[in-house]
Amino acid sequence: MSETYYECMRKQGITRRSFLKFCSLTAASLGLGAQGAQQIAHALETKPRTPVIWLHGLECTCCTESFIRSAHPLVGDVVLSMISLDYDDTLMAAAGDQVEQALEDTIKKFKGNYILAVEGNPPIGDDGIYCIPGGKPFVEKLKHAAKDALAVIAWGSCASWGCVQAAKPNPTTAVPIDKVIKDKPIIKVPGCPPIPEVMTGVVTYFLTFGRVPELDIQGRPKMFYGQRIHDKCYRRPHFDAGQFVERFDDAGARMGYCLYKVGCKGPTTYNACSAIRWNDGLSFPIQSGHGCIGCSEDAFWDKGGFYEHLTTVRPLGTAGIEGTADQIGGTLAAVAGVAIAAHAAASAIKQARSKTRNDLTSVPEKKVE
């Protein structure tokens, strides 16, 4: 356990220059600024490496595809050199019995000190026979690996909510991982797939600060899932002005009007696509002319057609109005009083404000030690 991240990266052939560049890129994606980069560098130079076990259940591997294509190739290289060493059945070189041995060795050697990252979910119907890696139901492997984990990351909508395999009628009884892992902190990073910068950001935050980032009541990191697509959408002024695309390829579509009427789920979807965007910040679905399908929301497959416009705006199971799923439910009316309005106003301002280093690092957080 004496090896630091930095030593480990150097062993992988990563130069100090690249290492520092990685630190500043990651600090930028976390909104931490120059001092944050120093803090990340210092942590990675001094802290012993936390191993990561990355399991795959029922899934399509789009999370891995997204992750290894992190905007800057360097980010992927650096983070992969930190995490792929221990166990990842897609990325590791080992095969067959060796693989299962590697998993057991890591669990034993780093008992209570490794992060379990889960891509996909366990189908628990018919004793779990619908997903059998290494000759055993995935649900058993998952519980086994979770037992001695420090914390658990739920990659993507499968692990977080269930996604397509849990859509009606869910023939295999696929369930999100928090239905079978009850006693560990779980960081949900939903999306189909999640944004690569968000994935590397969550891993690096955990590794650097040694704790889970601040989560909302649904278990998502607030720094990336605190606002709706709608809040930061560059087409938002067209929504406000009532300028809508009525049909694809109409004049409004050519003018870049709001896609709400052709099915955009931006007003109910908590994710960072409109702020961080995809492919090195190049674009995101709305920018290429298609509405958001709400892929990071619970049960997005069962919420009606992708091209049907929203008739109700409150996401299932939440009461958020000012961009967080954390607020007290109910309707704000005059009878509720000034205090409630003041709370709503203050929350809205806090959400709308760009995150500062303090917002991200001075969070009173349950420590994961």
Binding site: Q35, Y260, T311, R353
Partner: protein, 176 residues
């Protein structure tokens, strides 16, 4: 084309424009809250621009509109820029409408389904504007000066080519 800056209070003009949008373009949209109306709340001078909160039955935004033409930096529709308000940095998105002219907005609420009546929505708007203009972060900022941000602001301030080449935006450069 760029609209002329509003020399006088834009409240009436904004309200008229959004009432028309409410009646025409937003007609029949299910996420419009029927309990609410349109109001432009608290528009006042902020560093040469009008800053206030726009309340409509479908959104509540911080809104910047031109006041002093020299202080207004145009922003393309859909482009984003951060402004340092007393409560912190806020990212605004550029917009333009024939009836409104140029403006820049930062979303506070949208949609507006949780507001039961207009009175509460307007009260929330007032309190939100107060919160945005209150230096809640002052002590933090003092404890943690951000030299890069200061530098970025200094570089963006208007200056002559000569000053730029002299590096007048750098702290203490005049002594060289």
């Amino acid at each position: 084309m760029t609209e002329p800056a509003f020399a006088s209070d834009p409240t009436a003009r904004l309200e008229a424009a959004y009432r028309a949008i409410h009646a025409e373009r937003m007609h029949g949209i299910p996420i419009v809250n029927p309990a609410l109306g349109v109001a432009a709340v608290g528009f006042a001078d902020w560093e040469g621009r009008w800053l206030g909160v726009l309340v409509t039955p479908w959104c509540m935004n911080l809104m910047l509109v031109p006041r002093d033409p020299a202080a207004w930096r145009p922003l393309a529709v859909g482009a984003k820029r951060r402004y340092a308000l007393p409560a912190g940095e806020f990212e605004f998105i550029g917009g333009e409408d024939p009836a409104i002219g140029e403006y820049q907005m930062c979303s506070l609420f949208s949609p507006m389904e949780r507001f039961g009546d207009m009175e509460t929505a307007v009260l929330t708007a007032k309190l939100a504007l107060e919160a945005a203009l209150a230096p809640a972060q002052a002590e933090r900022q003092a404890a943690e000066p951000r030299p890069l941000e200061k530098l970025a602001r200094a570089v963006e301030a208007p200056m002559s080519k000569r000053d730029f080449l002299r590096g007048s935006f750098l702290p203490g450069v005049d002594r060289r």
